[in-house]
């Protein structure tokens, strides 16, 4: 499905162009943060806590100073005011508990991997070796690991109260009751006898981002004038610059943050990490570049984790399957500290539990809880995979209770395409969607009826390998978000995006974006959008990004926002550039602006095609400025900063058939159909890649991945030998397709796609496994659905049936 654009007349938007960036990436012409070598660099190594919760009773770094190549070593006390604290920029409630999060632990450590001391050496290995010389003693404290135990009165507190008294582990409690407190019970009561209520507890387990490139940072005070240059393997160079200025007190205008090639993020690099603060502060203090590249083992304990929710969910419907209410109670694990948006993550799911379904009553409550575990924060989907999992799982449970086909139950309750725009029970207004069309296409590709027939036949013959069918008719909210809405949710930033486009004198185009790609192919897609408006070849556009020195304005890349929001800024900037060029071209062609049309990159006098002026010629004129119309400034460039009107609501229907070996508990995906509606596709090939990657991520959570701690708070899944991520060999060949229902709130008609696969797929997988085993008495299987978890569910189901 790939093609190379040869026909200069064709609109590049919508074409599956191969990614511009791939040749460079695949040939190793890359510039990762760890590749950056500056003269005089000191390598930082970090002593991390081996204990989940302990008082530091003795800490002496001086023996490390005697080791070869060591230049400095610091504890929190040594750093004093330089020991910055990681800020949380999403205080979700007025009375939220926001304990300090010092870069180096002060007095107490609160999770395995907490930073205790640092060593700086001229050699990376010497720095690591010298950690052994640091003298440290801990007095162990009880580890708070279990979330439900943590919120009980009398539990050991992860943090003391602000006044020094015994604290509570409740970080915050956030209710959303659009129809009032008790609306769910009232709806059930009002239904009288005609009601079925299904209640379940689902566990959305903790996951690790697992990007290929581990975290890395280089901070150099050796820039021009007072500049401190920071290279970081981050998703958010712009946000990082602001946050680092706030945390360190360094003037923001002296900080330059560059995210060079970044090898994946998945939300895990949407962060201000304590290691970044340390590198900057120590570089400043010592006046030398400081570099830190973590090991995989460090990443497992100290990069933020995601998910980790206990979900109590209750759904009520009439006996013929009309949903009358939904109630959700969450306990969400914050971990030991609040990272930048930790408390807000479960609340990103808050609006999504009602999903695509119509219902009159909805209640939601979330309790955020501290534990002695690695802090949590955004990981691909952030809050929405959890919501989608719970609602799509319980829809299947309700269908089983009603003895109804699960797809029929969905059809009966979903918003029909005629009903858009539709304001949901949670208060969101979905602009467009067509669940019927996506489902029809998916059902067609899947062969639903034939698979159901095979399922019957395997059941009848008692085949040890049973077949199950899983459905996920999902939607999500992404493209975060209108700044006003973010403000209302107490998020301390906006959701706008910026673009500047420059037509250079030689005819080349420089497109400066505030998004920060780390694998998403923005260079190609952004060029396609601009090329379609400017009429220049895609290859004549160079996309500049991820360097606050060259691309000063931006809100970076996360939450499937880059195209949904950034795309709008590109469109507007390109249109503005054409407007300005038109004035110059009219002057050159001695006609009025209204007489000109802009076709295939050239201004033409209407009705006189011989008289035309290509954009490049206009750009050159704007450069020489020899003959510009009065009042027109030299140079040809335009910029736009766009705040989106609304969130983006992609949706889709995912269907999955799984063969479950009932003897071993092993699940094998037989087929997986994903029909996504992401609106207009700028580059279908990139969309395809995002869908595939998202599916791999979601299937990873469903079948393989899950962070495990022991009761002392030791991370058991501390390497990729124990934290299993699927590879291509474990995944089926996906059948993917799209329906196209353009967004009406987005001028390009696009919607986000980066997270869709990860959000949609876990319930499709688990629904399929449960569907296969339901005759054996199985009504749930814990994620990840490992062979043992499946086997135990079968044992329990059969025990229950006896």
């Amino acid at each position: 499905m790939t093609e190379t654009l040869t026909d200069a007349n064709a609109n590049p938007v919508g074409r599956p162009l191969r990614r511009k960036e791939d040749a460079r990436l695949l040939h190793g012409q890359t510039n990762w943060t760890d590749n950056i070598q500056l003269p005089g660099t000191l390598h930082m190594a970090i002593l991390r806590s081996p204990m989940a919760h302990a008082r530091i009773t003795n800490l002496d770094v001086t023996p490390a100073l005697k080791r070869p190549h060591v230049v400095a070593a610091f504890t929190a006390k040594d750093l004093g005011d330089l020991n910055g604290s990681v800020p949380c920029v999403w205080p979700v409630t007025d009375d939220i508990q926001m304990p300090g999060f010092p870069a180096l632990a002060v007095d107490k450590v609160r999770h395995v991997g907490d930073c205790v001391a640092v060593v700086l050496a001229t050699d990376k290995y010497a720095a690591a070796d010298a950690l052994d010389a640091i003298e440290v003693d801990y007095e162990p404290l009880p580890a708070v690991i279990d979330m439900e135990a943590a919120i009980k009165q009398g539990s050991t507190a992860v943090h003391d109260a602000a006044d020094g008294s015994h604290g509570t582990n409740v970080c915050y409690e956030f209710p959303l009751k659009p129809q009032g407190d008790g609306a769910f019970d009232a709806a059930v009561k009002a239904a009288g006898d005609d009601v079925v209520v299904v209640k379940r507890r689902f566990i959305n387990q903790r996951v690790i981002a697992g990007y290929m490139e581990p975290r890395a940072v280089v901070a150099s005070p050796m820039g021009m004038s007072n500049e401190m240059t920071i290279w970081s393997a981050t998703q958010i160079p712009h946000v990082l610059r602001v946050l680092l200025a706030l945390v360190t007190g360094l003037p923001e205008n002296s900080l330059r943050v560059i995210a060079p090639d970044v090898g994946g993020g998945f939300g895990g690099k949407l962060q201000l990490y304590r290691e970044e603060i340390l590198a900057v502060q120590i570089a400043r203090h010592l006046g030398r570049p400081v570099k830190w590249t973590e090991t995989r083992s460090e990443d497992m304990v100290a990069s933020h984790h995601g998910r980790d929710q206990i979900q109590d969910i209750e759904i009520a419907s009439t006996k013929d399957g009309q949903i009358i209410g939904l109630k959700v109670d969450l306990i969400a694990n914050m971990g030991a500290y609040l990272q930048i948006i930790t408390p807000g993550i479960p609340l990103l799911g808050m609006f999504m539990y009602p999903a695509i379904y119509k219902m009159p009553a909805y209640e939601f409550n979330c309790v955020g809880v501290f534990t002695n575990t690695t802090p949590t924060d955004a990981i691909r989907g952030a809050g929405r995979p959890e919501a989608t999992y719970a609602i799509e799982r319980i829809m299947d449970e309700l269908a089983a209770e009603l003895d109804m086909d699960p797809m029929q139950l969905r059809e009966k309750n979903w918003i029909t395409h005629e009903e858009f725009p539709y304001t949901t029970v949670a208060g969101l207004t979905y602009d467009t969607g067509n669940y019927e069309a996506a489902t029809a296409k998916a059902m067609d590709l899947f062969g639903y009826d034939a698979l159901r027939a095979e399922q019957e036949q395997r059941r009848a013959s008692g085949d040890p390998v049973q077949l199950g069918i899983g459905i996920s008719t999902f939607t999500e909210m992404c493209g975060l978000a209108p700044s006003r809405t973010l403000g209302a949710l107490k998020y301390v930033a906006g959701g706008w995006e910026h673009c500047t486009i420059r037509a250079l004198p030689t005819g080349k185009i420089e497109l400066i974006t505030g998004t920060s790609p780390h694998g998403q192919g923005h260079e190609t897609a952004w060029s396609q959008i601009a090329a379609s408006i400017l009429g220049v070849p895609v290859d004549d556009i160079e996309v500049v990004h991820s360097d606050t020195g060259r691309a000063p304005y931006g809100m970076d890349t996360y939450g499937s926002r880059s195209l949904a929001v950034g795309g709008q800024a590109i469109k507007k900037a390109a249109e503005r550039l054409v407007e300005k060029a038109k004035v110059i071209a009219a002057h050159q062609l001695e006609c009025s602006v209204d007489d000109l049309e802009f076709i295939q990159g050239a201004f033409r006098v209407k009705g006189d095609p011989a008289k035309s002026q290509p954009l490049a010629a206009v750009a050159f004129e704007a450069f020489t400025a020899h003959n510009l119309p009065d009042g027109v400034e030299p140079t040809l460039q335009a910029e736009a900063t766009v705040d989106p009107d609304d969130f983006s609501y992609p949706h889709g229907t995912h269907l999955c058939a799984i063969e479950v070996d009932t003897e071993t508990g092993k699940s094998k995906i037989r087929s997986y159909v994903a029909v996504d509606d992401v609106g207009i596709q700028v580059n279908p090939l990139i969309v395809e890649g995002q869908v595939h990657g998202g599916l791999a991520c979601g299937i990873g959570q469903a079948l393989y991945e899950g962070v495990e701690y022991d009761s002392d708070g030791n991370l058991l899944t501390a390497s990729f030998a124990d934290y299993l991520i699927p590879s291509a060999a474990d995944l089926p060949s996906f059948t993917t397709d799209r329906t196209v229902t353009p967004s009406s709130t987005n001028p390009l008609g696009t919607k986000g796609v980066g997270e869709a696969g990860a959000i949609a797929s876990p319930p499709a997988i688990i629904n399929a496994i449960v569907d296969a085993l339901r005759p054996m008495g199985v009504t749930d299987v814990k994620m990840p659905a490992t062979p043992e978890n499946v086997w135990r569910a079968i044992q329990a189901g059969q025990g229950g049936a006896q």
Partner: protein, 285 residues
């Protein structure tokens, strides 16, 4: 994940390697393909001060016909073993199992000898060596000795090799006529170690199993022979029912651990299911 500093020597002969090990004393360590040792070093779970790289010792390479057995050089990689014509003909069980190890990159570097010397309870090849009654040829300061597979795997990550001994080659008996084999590996992802594995070799005469050998991976500190299954199979009918009945004893005498991939209880269950499947497959029923 940064190893501590170490010295590195790369001898050209077995004798030089033994001298180098002796010279290094307690903190010397052999490195072959490095596929198990490097992760251990990087995690600082071992800190040898000298690595003796045996990778270029010619006399430890290659696979030859020794008459009633094959001689597999310790340095033969998994890739060489799985594709070798002699192995495929006379010890197909070994070729099949070597093909299940990790992924192509690791199979090109990791060696048969390294796998056995490492004595990982989750390793596939020690189980096969045990099932096939292989003999290890080891050389040390006191000369060469032969160690039977059943005496070679002592405990978790512990073989019968002395610190200054090198595993030079492995004698793998040829299976005669009437034998057929199967290795059944159960793992969570395609490239993962075995949660449980079963190596089965079955000798069939008409409708009867005359002799069977069954060895289990990851069912204890070392690979074990499922002797009660072997006893039950000897003389049993080559039928699904008879095989299932025999396989029901597969967990007898095993000591599996509980870890993140499976509890001991689940491993015991798996051993029975997988033994049934491995034997049935080998017996062609």
């Amino acid at each position: 994940m940064i190893p501590i500093a170490f010295d590195y020597v790369r001898p050209g002969t077995v004798d030089e390697a033994i001298s180098a090990l002796a010279a290094a004393g307690e903190d010397g360590k052999v490195i072959s393909g490095g596929q198990s040792l490097m992760p251990v070093l990087r995690l600082r779970m071992a800190a040898p001060t000298t690595l003796v790289d045996i990778g270029s010792i010619a006399e430890m390479k290659g696979i030859t016909d020794g008459g009633d057995h094959l001689v597999v050089g310790a340095n033969a990689t998994h890739y060489e073993v799985m594709n070798d014509a002699l192995v495929k003909q006379h010890a197909p069980l070994l070729a099949q199992a070597a093909g299940t190890v990790a992924d192509p990159a690791i199979r090109h570097r990791g060696t048969f000898g390294g796998s056995l010397a490492h004595a990982d309870p989750a390793g596939d090849l020690p189980t096969v060596a045990l099932a096939l009654d292989a003999t290890m040829v080891a050389k040390g300061p006191n000369g060469t000795r032969e160690i039977a597979a059943k005496d070679f795997f002592v405990d978790y990550f512990t073989s019968a090799l002395e610190p200054e001994e090198i595993l030079v080659a492995v004698k793998v008996p040829k299976l005669g006529d009437g034998w057929s084999t199967h290795y059944e590996k159960f793992n969570r992802t395609a490239q993962a170690w075995a949660t449980v594995g079963v190596a089965a070799a079955v000798k069939r005469q008409n409708g009867t199993i005359t002799e069977a050998r069954v060895a289990l991976t990851n069912m204890g500190p070392s690979p074990v022979r499922a002797s009660s299954v072997e006893a039950a199979l000897a003389g049993a009918a080559a039928t699904t029912d008879a095989i299932a009945a025999a396989a029901a004893n597969a967990a007898d005498g095993t000591r599996p651990t509980s870890d993140l991939h499976a509890s001991a209880e689940f491993r015991e269950h798996l051993a029975k299911v997988l033994t049934k499947r491995a034997v049935a497959q080998a017996a062609g029923v």
